[in-house]
Symmetry: C2
Subunit: 246 residues, 2 copies
DNA sequence: CGGTTGATTGAGGCCCATCAATCCAGGTGG
DNA sequence: CCACCTGGATTGATGGGCCTCAATCAACCG
């Protein structure tokens, strides 16, 4: 939070992954954060780091789920397709989030996870987590917490991003995206393609484009580039207030 | 499923709740279904049965969550209110569903649960479930299953009931409501008020009313009364096909 | 019986989907 | 280096679906 130094929890550098796990930057917010160092020793070798380019899928709806993933950096979108063939983003995931919880129940993935930005994840085999949760009851609590987070996120999507006029939905999306901004000095947010915005907010790419253009003119979006922009948070808050007040 | 006799799992009738729990009709589908009889003995006295009339709230968004509830019969709707003040139903719950999972994490209720029909629930104190899950690891698995169910339900709501023209959304809602129909000989479904349909499908009561009237004329809804109707499943499937195919 | 609450139906207007044209950035090959 | 192509973004014109406003109706009840 306050930019303090992350301590080196572990000093065992024999395994290449050992260092990465022990001094992992997301350990405090991630599932294994509460685990004692002894337990961490058991798992280094089973954790694999993966890197994804934008638009690349981490896993796909309906496929066998043999692993869960902790997001180390970047943003992903979880999407589904309805019976009519329409694609719809149901929530976002960022730093510290755990994806693929269904795997713990031996169910296939319930959504497709697609990288929005450059993404780093840690792959955790289902079997490892199953064994570990037997000996470490704190893990069960952590898993439940993640499940509730996911549920809450999905419900919030339904309530805040699926109602009201298109302008308000876009504003709400920008607010949510600002939560996933990299902790860099200046807060540049990831700006989805118009097609993705459509899949998130249930609108056409033309409407999404019009709203973005409009917000550019109004000074809410400042330095708009192809896939990122600078957000004027004050102007955003004001615009949201105006949209909600009426 | 096939109307067979439910066996009497327990013969201890000393406590008034003992009989109800032991021969509970939902025990097979409910959270405690996997528990051995010894464990069931410990809990009778802490479980309270509650009855709700239509439109009555089981618990409210933001309130302290000291208990979870297993639905024995009837249908409830979980609703939230967004920053603009719009009410929105985020999912339904029926026989065997577990509500108020947030309680396990010491969080306040994340939604308001309102009875749609006559409802019977069993109130399970949070503390009881916490103690029990320590000694009975199977309970954790059960809880995770419920969480995933809720998540899946919410995401499905987003994908199937929040996209496409109003006619299709109403048809999808009817299909979903048919899943909650009482296991009676003839399948009469609960028909929400037009206002509730609006909160479920993000439309006005007038639009909802027009769609219902239209489906009455087409013979999809047959014996429409104030809060229930007979559903022509064949015609519904056909209408959905037509709405999706185009 | 008047009063209230919810459902229905109609008329008009607005928001957004649709269709279409143009623009822009990046990549490719001559 | 430029012509060319391509995928995405933008902007305009038009129409339709749904919201809004309003009147009527049905059911229930004090």
């Amino acid at each position: 939070m306050t930019g303090r130094i992350i301590p080196l929890y572990r000093q065992d550098f024999t395994h290449p992954q050992a260092q990465a796990c022990a001094r992992c930057g997301v350990r405090e917010v991630a599932l294994f954060g509460a685990l004692p160092d002894e337990a961490l020793d058991q798992i280094h070798q089973h954790i694999a780091e993966e890197r994804l380019a934008p638009r690349q899928a981490l896993f796909e709806l309906g496929h066998r789920a043999d692993a869960l993933y902790t997001v180390r950096s970047g943003v992903l979108q979880l999407e589904r397709v309805n019976e009519r063939g329409d694609r719809r983003v149901v929530r976002l995931a960022g730093r510290g989030d755990l994806l693929g919880l269904e795997a713990m129940l031996l169910q296939p993935y319930g959504a497709t996870a697609v990288a929005c930005t450059q993404v780093e994840v840690c792959r955790i085999p289902r079997s490892l987590l199953q064994e570990l949760s037997a000996s470490q009851p704190s893990l069960s609590a952590g898993l439940m917490q993640r499940w509730q987070q996911a549920l809450s996120g999905s419900e919030e999507w339904l309530v805040e991003l699926s109602m009201g006029p298109s302008r308000r939905r876009v504003l709400q999306l920008l607010r949510k995206l600002s939560e996933y901004a990299e902790p860099a000095p200046l807060s540049n947010i990831w700006l989805p393609s118009r097609e993705d915005m459509g899949a998130m907010l249930n609108m056409t790419i033309e409407t999404a484009s019009r709203m973005v253009s409009s917000l550019k003119r109004e000074g809410v979006l400042l330095d708009v580039q192809s896939r990122q922009a600078c957000l004027n948070t004050a102007a955003l808050a004001e615009a949201l207030q105006a949209a909600d007040g009426d």
